[in-house]
Symmetry: D3
Subunit: 137 residues, 6 copies
Amino acid sequence: MILITRREQFSAAHRLFRNNWDDEKNLEAFGKCSNPNWHGHNYVLFVTVKGEINPETGFVVNIKKLSTIIKETVISKLDHKNINIDVDFMHGKLASTENLAIGIWDQLEPSISAIGIELHCIKIMETENNYIEYYGN
Amino acid sequence: MILITRREQFSAAHRLFRNNWDDEKNLEAFGKCSNPNWHGHNYVLFVTVKGEINPETGFVVNIKKLSTIIKETVISKLDHKNINIDVDFMHGKLASTENLAIGIWDQLEPSISAIGIELHCIKIMETENNYIEYYGN
Amino acid sequence: MILITRREQFSAAHRLFRNNWDDEKNLEAFGKCSNPNWHGHNYVLFVTVKGEINPETGFVVNIKKLSTIIKETVISKLDHKNINIDVDFMHGKLASTENLAIGIWDQLEPSISAIGIELHCIKIMETENNYIEYYGN
Amino acid sequence: MILITRREQFSAAHRLFRNNWDDEKNLEAFGKCSNPNWHGHNYVLFVTVKGEINPETGFVVNIKKLSTIIKETVISKLDHKNINIDVDFMHGKLASTENLAIGIWDQLEPSISAIGIELHCIKIMETENNYIEYYGN
Amino acid sequence: MILITRREQFSAAHRLFRNNWDDEKNLEAFGKCSNPNWHGHNYVLFVTVKGEINPETGFVVNIKKLSTIIKETVISKLDHKNINIDVDFMHGKLASTENLAIGIWDQLEPSISAIGIELHCIKIMETENNYIEYYGN
Amino acid sequence: MILITRREQFSAAHRLFRNNWDDEKNLEAFGKCSNPNWHGHNYVLFVTVKGEINPETGFVVNIKKLSTIIKETVISKLDHKNINIDVDFMHGKLASTENLAIGIWDQLEPSISAIGIELHCIKIMETENNYIEYYGN
């Protein structure tokens, strides 16, 4: 088995809260992440794919093409944006890193399979101390 | 000369824009950093101080005390906040990393001199590709 | 499958040696790691857990709670300590990173399952060039 | 299951191209990586092995011995070399990171099994944004 | 004083040797860096500039503009190139990191002063263990 | 002005305490760093030198020679050692990073000037959050 990973980054604002909870309950559940005026992160995204090596090129996938797919499909929607407000695929979801990882998987998966490789893992680092890995359902 | 540097971090939202400019002019001057719905970063702050070594302790300054001063004076005001809205010492200023560095210097300097050492440099990394260093006036 | 990882750190002294071996044999087996006067490291610990996303919070686990468990259960016992002498769960064991990873797993596992999630991996970096991953028995 | 990883590095030149393609077709397939005058990278290699803990030493494997095997078997052939020209185990292969990972696996595997442990993964970072992982056939 | 630093990267091949020395003498002076078939690095470039803060924008310089100047003036000439052969401003010079830093300074300085700021430092990391800083004559 | 920096590392144990203070007063002054059973760090050492570029080699100094001097003069005395007990040049001094930086400067300076270059700075990172820079008297 051979895996290829591409790292991309985006800087975004977000807030963790539930509309049907008051400020106090949001603060209790989400701590300072519930600040009504938002906060933000430099998110680091690792997209891992797998496939067979093409004997003509020695590549599983041209890393430039993979990078372009990631940028067009997800980074352009997330970078310098507000995850709660600006990002269509996050509407109606809590803006946790867990949900973001699943959202990015769902955005990327069709474009990845369309070029004959398989999406293996979405990893998102929210800070240098916290990260999420999602391997699909 | 001997210098001590303490690294701290904060995650914050911000936006670059001028009230007296329309959206188009803000976009031209600040690009995607002018997004009205905010974006954010994991800012990394390096505070460098200088002084004499205390022969009793071998320290220029107890790094724990320095860290506490930085956390109480600036990190508590910036972490998980909106720099434009929530941060008193940034009111009325453009939320650029340059102005943030100067603002942090002005916040920290009195507490640093009060313990008998000298503030030497404020360095802020906004992303792994961009950083500002401010050495005072 | 969704995984969450929290990074924590501790600085500790240790020594690799066997009481029933003489200095020469210890030196042969463990090299400079057998120095009788100890040496030390900044250990970096990655704790990975898995579970279902709570639809109310968007979290598998509140990362703050996970961090608190790790700090109370293992970091407080290891940070600024001597692994061979000060750490109860390492008594009678060789202070290798392998044994440390297993020891940390055994310390953490009950507290992790108690909050309804599953411990997946303990990773310890002893230096930037060496690390151990333990996935349980 | 317990895994040990050793990081090593090498700086090498390479070029991606096929002899049976003209310059234009090579440029189309490989982009700037096909530059006829070569380019190069600081490659970072992670070798992961697995095995049982030796109760006498607390080690799965002495990391120094593992490092020596990696240096003698692969780093000495790759560091400050041209992957296309100087490296025997890459002759006749496209110098992609995918093929390099497989080549390194094949070089290392016999020496790793010879000391009673199992090779688990070869990971190569070509840049901080791209890496390959190979787990054997 | 306020300084701004932009990080950029390039991957290039090079070789250290003198035409008027034979292979043996080159090997003695430059070690494995004299390999006739080239080797290469992921060079990391830090460009530091200084100036006054523009009160309209809060910027010393728009970091995007600075990045564009660096990419157009030096990265486009160096990335995926052979420093000895392909890079006009290095012709006739030994391809040491010292000379590269001076060469990059001389390339960048006119474009930097043209936008009203001052070039302060060129820093190049050849590997994570070695770097050069050049502050001009 | 042109500066060259070499990074080296060492793992060591230490303890901060004064013999003429009791345990309570040591704990008050040095916190957990006064643990009588020692603790330790992976120290990262940056040695910066300056000089003229040798036109024959393009080097201010052969980085390999600089590395050898650092390893022979200081790393061999510090790596896998106890700074308080094993390191001759630290005897009778508090094992703070400040004093260590000065001690390393005094060890290195004669060997650096002996090869016709000038020692400019000793930087020691004790953890990723704390570092000391010493520029000589």
